[in-house]
Symmetry: C2
Subunit: 425 residues, 2 copies
């Protein structure tokens, strides 16, 4: 049967590692041997205590027929920042509770600047103008007749994890890194719209503007617009959620979240960036020498172990699969390495296929916890060769005055009782 398992299993666990796991697994899994009474052929072949839900009819169909999670998962929700803000502008995804690469729409992080507009899609328009041959206004139904694509991409707020520049804040992965989510997006390549309008050769930048009361505006380089940028109207199959830009948003895969303009109503082509409020007074990187870096668009490679992670507790010694996610705004993740000794030694994790560019990539590694205190870390490497830096290296280069683009290695401390806490190590 050894050969059978390795022949037919299509997962990405290399055979030697799998064999090793399986050899140790009975003890490692910690599963109970079945007590003899439970196996007695008592008519129903059931363990002795048959629960209520196996004996009576369950809940009938929901009305309205839009489903929700189990009541037992009521605490798996987005949370406001901790410590609380006087005027909160974002909620965070419960990363440590999620098991796949897709973020359910109900848990996709939020960040907005004038709360969430409720836009009537029949009245919404997108205007494309400026340095174009044919200024155009599109209704939603006109956009939705055009050639579309589906793409899986993450969005990360430029300010995600920014408190980490100074001290460890937040207990859980959600509190520390939760301004990050991943979805399958559907929409039209922006290059198609620019071709329709006839972008003039001298057009090098786009001003993209939202229809919310903040009139969020950002300058986008033409190279990105003609590469993988999209205007999207659907997310994980269904139409965008209101807090994600319903009925239309810009998607700039891998670029800082703020640039992915929600409630998109206008694209103006010009020769220079516009230096809007969101790219001058905010969303710049204050450097140790007092200068501010502007237009640092791409979110660099980053990763986080989610299991075990802050706020969780290891309840047994022995086998635990280490699980986490990695991502890069520059392309595909090529490797993730795991350390269980605060960065002294590293082992290669398994990556979940398919590995897609600018998408959350799940990683996993086998681990036997011996019950001793230790520090868990992960580091991501992307297809440009970039290696996620230690916190010390990031601070040496960037200082501690910045509020954006924090991507240092996350450390989780595990104490002798199995408690997991957020530390800088």
């Amino acid at each position: 049967m050894d050969d059978k398992v390795d022949d037919v299993s299509r997962d990405d666990v290399p055979a030697p590692s799998r064999r090793k796991f399986l050899a140790q697994a009975s003890a490692a899994a910690g599963a109970m041997a079945v007590p003899p009474a439970a196996l007695a052929e008592n008519g129903a072949n059931l363990p002795p205590n048959v629960p209520e839900w196996s004996r009576t009819q369950g809940r009938p169909f929901l009305s309205p027929a839009y489903g929700l999670p189990s009541p037992f998962e009521k605490d798996v929700v987005r949370v406001l920042p901790n410590p609380p803000a006087a005027f909160p502008t974002g909620t965070r995804t419960p990363l440590q509770e999620l098991k796949g690469s897709i973020t359910p729409n109900g848990l996709f992080f939020e960040r907005h600047h004038a709360n969430v507009p409720m836009i009537d899609p029949r009245e919404h328009r997108l205007m494309v103008h400026g340095l174009v041959e044919r200024p155009l206004i599109f209704s939603m139904s006109e956009l939705m007749r055009l050639p579309a694509v589906n793409r899986i991409h993450f969005i990360e707020c430029a300010g995600n994890s920014s408190a980490e520049f100074t001290r460890p804040t937040g207990k859980t992965a959600q509190e520390v890194h939760g301004l990050l989510s991943n979805a399958e997006w559907t929409g039209v390549m922006l290059s198609v719209l620019l071709r329709e309008a006839g972008a003039r050769p001298e057009a090098r930048w786009l001003l993209c503007e939202g229809a919310d009361a903040a009139s969020m505006t950002r300058s986008v380089p033409m190279e990105k617009a003609m590469d993988d940028a999209m205007v999207v109207y659907a997310q994980n199959g269904e139409r965008l959620r209101p807090e994600q830009g319903y009925p239309l948003r810009l998607l700039l895969p891998g670029f800082e979240g703020n640039m992915n303009i929600k409630w998109l109503r206008r694209i103006k082509l010009g020769t220079q960036p516009w230096h809007t409020r969101e790219e001058t007074s905010t969303y710049t990187d204050l450097m140790p020498d007092g200068t501010a870096r502007q237009f640092t668009f791409a979110m660099e490679a980053k990763s986080c172990v989610l299991s075990p992670s802050g706020g969780q507790k290891l309840d047994v010694h022995g086998y635990h699969e280490i699980y986490g996610v990695a991502w890069s705004g520059r392309g595909r993740i090529t490797a993730v390495e795991i350390s269980t000794d605060a960065g002294k030694t590293w082992q290669r994790a398994r990556l979940q296929e398919p590995v897609l560019p600018r998408a959350l990539t799940a990683f996993r590694a086998d681990w036997h916890w011996d019950g001793k205190p230790c520090v868990l870390q992960s580091r991501a490497i992307d297809e440009t060769g970039f290696v996620q830096p230690t916190r010390a290296r990031l601070i040496a280069a960037r200082g501690t005055a910045s509020s954006y683009h924090y991507n240092a290695i996350q450390s989780w401390n595990i104490d002798a009782n199995g408690g997991v806490t957020h530390v800088h190590a």
Copy 2:
């Protein structure tokens, strides 16, 4: 700029097709040219009528913080069968409203036999016994420490579209084919659990049983169990929804939905199938010669155009992208062909990458509607070479007495007014 578009766009539209589209696109898109007044530099660069949502703060954060669709999408929900059943046992996914390959969890189709149990995950157990060396009982936390994988797979009810054996029923894709959904699943390969328990060489079949009041039981061949079968606890990242088997279900990729036992509590290994109620009195295929085919597990290749589809209306002549989904329980979709003349001629559609085995695969094709009545069809071809049959061919082989495994080509009639209706053609 021609070269630029084709160089940098990474979508799967072949360059010649794209060029053709773009050449015709200004007329095809039907987008309005911007009226001069709208472009006047009036301070805000906006069209003259600025809507309310651009002038006032929007909706604050939700509490509880689990998000929901826009109120404008309130009709995009699962529906009960039409015509109504006295004791409804399923709801259907609004396929024609979905734009991607992922089905949001709130819209994933339902089919159950004793309503939806509300199971406490702390009390739920999975027993593996019968022809094994080490009978085992797993708690959820024990299962969730084991090596896991993420896989995107569809599930289709064996009885999906079954009314079509006799006459066209249902108006929309949802009503006709809505017992079909697709998700990213997370869980443990079943082969890992069987290895843990030490499956004996003589074990050839598994009895898999649910913890609902129907005690749903099905026999599963050992080959499938050791191939790509999983026990899954998460769906699109979050924990399974109650109606999808929370906290644990069996996933047999490509096999008829009924076998993907929800609320999975027991797996018993034996030498022969058990001939349970669900594989004798139901879920068999009654053939023209009066015999019943048993154990026809795989859902064969099938496809459906979703845009345009029944109940929709083409509001303009000219360019429309044809969009739909294809799937096969035998592996990957290798091609989808489109006919706009009731099957006389066919053109190749574009497939959305990545094309994954036993997963919904989106397809798209360019189409210029000339305003004349016509019949739209799609046919799927999978990696085994199987070609989705016409309805006539399916009926010739299978007769009209069956209730399962209907996978004939879907026909949508388009009338001179652009109205789209479900026909047998």
